[in-house]
């Protein structure tokens, strides 16, 4: 018997190590057809079963957004390998199971390799393997790839799964009443197109269409049921009132946390990072916290830099005074004193605020909050008709609009891109900060940081 096995999983979870362990390191390295991404294949024989193993690119998810994800996904959908080994990091189930759910939707024949099992045990995780296997409906094998542990068991599970292929019913991922109903209805419609449903799992197609997956939408372009499908998709948008893609992703994560509740026993080690996220990203608090931090940033910038600005101001006033008394020619004296020292001094006074603004922004960035701010703003962005991906250019626009406009190149749809470009100059670049500080302190005195925050958040819109 000869079977085809694909290896999939997040990057850096030990997928390559498992590949090397299984194949003995003898790999055939080529390219994926028409792509620059490397394709590794190898063989092994286990108890009379010959396995051809393909190492898919490491990915976090199976959307159509990057070449890597697309290759992995297309391979699973179109080549239909007999078994897919999903390499999952035991101590990081929450993130890793996301791809597992997507594989279930693809109706792949999965075997989970629960890698870095030893690390998870050292950390004090107690994972109920049986329960996990039951809930997902797939075999789970603990492995320690680096010590070559669990490899025989993995091969056993793979050949067993290959034998059982198509015989057992895989559980379907349930997104809850409303969405499930829409998905089933769309799946029924898609069923009628035999050309499509012969190749692709219809539920998966339906979910991807709801998510607005470009690749799948191209697939159904010529389908006779296209109109009906798109009508259901637009209905879904109305019913959900939010980006279906975001809703579905959120549902997947809540399914995962349901599973984890049942599977992880004892004290689930909650990292400090998780705790912080619980507070900072909670539904009710995330926007107030975001605004409060923004206000604090401006307050900090304004207060701390004041002293330094005064020093620079004094220096240039002194230089200007010196120039006007030492230079005889009145025109030249005025040029040097008023023009150069006065004008340039007036601008350079704002060097400290810019330093401190970016000091504060870098702290927010390095601490990991800025990435979360993008997450917080994603929904707001969507509400006003911009793409979630627009947030990064917007953030850069806070420094300077020029690199920000260039950064829109990562946005794939032309309309989204042009919208992001056109609205980017509304971001308050750092050059505008001096104006707020000057006018703010001139007319509003010590209240100045409040309108600065308002303007800062205004520019976020």
């Amino acid at each position: 018997m000869k079977i085809e096995v694909a290896l999939i999983g997040n990057p850096n979870m030990g997928k390559s190590l498992i590949f090397n362990n299984l194949t003995g390191g003898r790999a055939h390295v080529g390219n994926w057809p028409g792509k620059i991404v490397e394709k590794k294949t190898g063989r092994c024989t286990h108890k009379g079963v010959e396995m051809e193993i393909v190492d898919l690119p490491g990915t976090y998810s199976l959307t159509a957004n990057s070449i890597d994800e697309l290759i992995a996904r297309n391979y699973i959908v179109e080549e239909k390998p007999d078994v897919v080994i999903d390499v999952v990091e035991a101590s990081n189930l929450e993130r890793n199971l996301y791809i597992t759910l997507q594989l279930l939707e693809l109706e792949a024949n999965i075997v989970i390799a629960l890698n870095k099992w030893d690390v998870a045990q050292d950390l004090g995780y107690e994972i109920d393997l049986k329960e996990l296997s039951n809930l997902l409906g797939v075999p789970v094998v603990p492995t320690v790839a680096i010590a070559r542990k669990g490899m025989e068991e993995l091969k056993d599970a793979v050949s067993e799964a290959a034998g059982a292929k198509g015989k057992k019913k895989m559980p379907s991922v349930s997104y809850g009443g409303k969405i499930d109903e829409l998905v089933s209805r769309m799946a029924r419609v898609l069923m009628m197109d035999e050309e499509l449903s012969g190749v692709y799992p219809v539920r998966w197609l339906a979910v991807k269409i709801l998510e607005g997956d470009g690749e799948v939408l191209r697939l159904i372009e010529k389908s006779p049921v296209r109109q009906d499908v798109l009508r259901i998709a637009s209905e879904a948008r109305d019913v959900l009132e939010e980006d279906p893609e975001a809703v579905l992703a959120e549902r997947r994560y809540s399914i995962i946390s349901e599973i984890l509740k049942k599977v992880m026993r004892g004290a689930r080690p909650l990292t400090l990072s998780d705790l912080l996220d619980k507070a900072l990203l909670s539904r009710r608090l995330r926007i107030p916290i975001f605004l409060a931090l923004w206000w604090a940033l401006f307050r900090f910038t304004y207060d701390v830099s004041a002293l330094f600005s005064d020093l620079i101001d004094m220096l240039f006033s002194w230089l200007g005074g010196l120039a006007s008394t030492q230079i005889d020619n009145p025109q030249l004296a005025s040029l040097v004193a008023d023009g150069i020292f006065g004008g340039l001094g007036g601008v350079l006074v704002f060097l400290p605020p810019i330093f401190f603004l970016f000091f504060g922004l870098s702290i927010l960035e390095d601490s990991g909050y800025l990435a979360r701010a993008a997450f917080v703003m994603d929904r707001v962005m969507y509400k006003i008709g911009l793409h979630g991906r627009s947030f990064i250019p917007m953030l850069i626009g806070f420094g300077c609009n020029v690199p920000a406009v260039m950064a829109t190149r990562t946005i794939d749809r032309d309309e989204d891109r042009i919208l992001t470009i056109l609205t980017n100059p509304l971001m308050s670049c750092s050059a505008r900060l001096p104006i707020y500080i000057l006018i703010g302190s001139a007319v509003l005195g010590s209240y100045a940081s409040t309108p600065c925050t308002c303007l800062g958040s205004l520019s976020q819109l």
């Binding site: 704002f350 330093f355 601490s367 008709g385 260039m406 470009i421 100059p425 050059a431 006018i439 007319v443």
Partner: protein
């Protein structure tokens, strides 16, 4: 899907923060040494010449300078917003680089002659009331982006139409936002029977201004969507062909 890897929270490294801070600061310094410097020299030239007309009888008559003449000529446009000719001129030069707005004020008031700092001069001269000051801030936030930005918009969209459109719509939006702030503030002042200085009116105005810009922008996006989508369907969420990218695009 916009799947974002959320990194773990970490204590920021001071080294990293310092490097980033210095990079931004250096950019600002470079800009100050080049385009801002040139802009400020031209502001100085325009505000001191014709020399004889400006420097009369030991005093300085800025109104007679080129910049004064120019500022006065555009002042009527901004009078509704309560900006005087100096503010108008500063905004004009801000088109070169927004830093020059501040630089223009500095040059106009010839800072070297007084030890006071610029913001107290502005306060003493009474150029802005809290309300018009706020309007001025909002205006400078929104109005025409600097030359460099317009240039890059042209390069990235490969169309002068979009570049010109950016400049124009921002100008209009800025004017509308600033005007609504001033108008709301004025109404509030009249309601308070002329008792100015209730700080709250500025807050009212700022909140309303923010809302205005928000809804104004939302409206604009909707409009833009319909402009951009070939089907001409203005609906943001409901158009299957447009929203799902299934329609053929030229």
């Amino acid at each position: 899907m916009f799947v974002m890897e959320l990194p773990m929270y970490a204590v920021p490294s001071l080294r990293n923060v310092a490097i980033h801070m210095w990079e931004r600061g250096r950019l600002f310094l470079t800009k100050a040494g080049t385009i801002i410097f040139l802009g400020i020299i031209s502001v100085w030239l325009l505000s001191n010449y014709p020399w004889e007309a400006v420097h009369q009888g030991g005093g300085v008559l800025l109104e007679n300078s080129y910049i004064g003449i120019f500022g006065k000529s555009v002042e009527p446009i901004f009078r509704l917003l309560g900006f005087n000719w100096m503010a108008s001129a500063a905004l004009f030069f801000g088109f070169i680089a927004k830093e020059i707005v501040v630089g223009t004020f500095a040059t106009l008031f010839g800072l070297s002659e007084s030890a006071e700092n610029l913001s107290s001069v502005l306060r003493a001269e009474g150029i802005f009331t809290p309300l018009t000051g706020y309007a001025f801030m909002v205006f400078s936030l929104i109005y025409v982006p600097c030359i460099a930005t317009i240039g890059v918009v042209y390069r990235e969209t490969a169309s002068w139409r979009w570049a010109a459109f950016t400049a124009l719509y921002q100008l209009i939006l800025a004017y509308a936002a600033a005007f609504s702030i001033v108008a709301i503030g004025e109404v509030d002042r009249i309601r308070m029977r002329g008792k100015a200085g209730s700080g709250w009116m500025v807050y009212y105005a700022s909140i309303l201004g923010a809302m205005y810009v928000f809804f104004g922008s939302a409206e604009l996006f909707l409009g833009l969507r319909s402009l951009l989508s070939p089907s001409g369907n203005a609906s943001l969420f409901g158009a299957p062909a447009d929203a799902l990218g299934g329609s053929p695009r030229s």
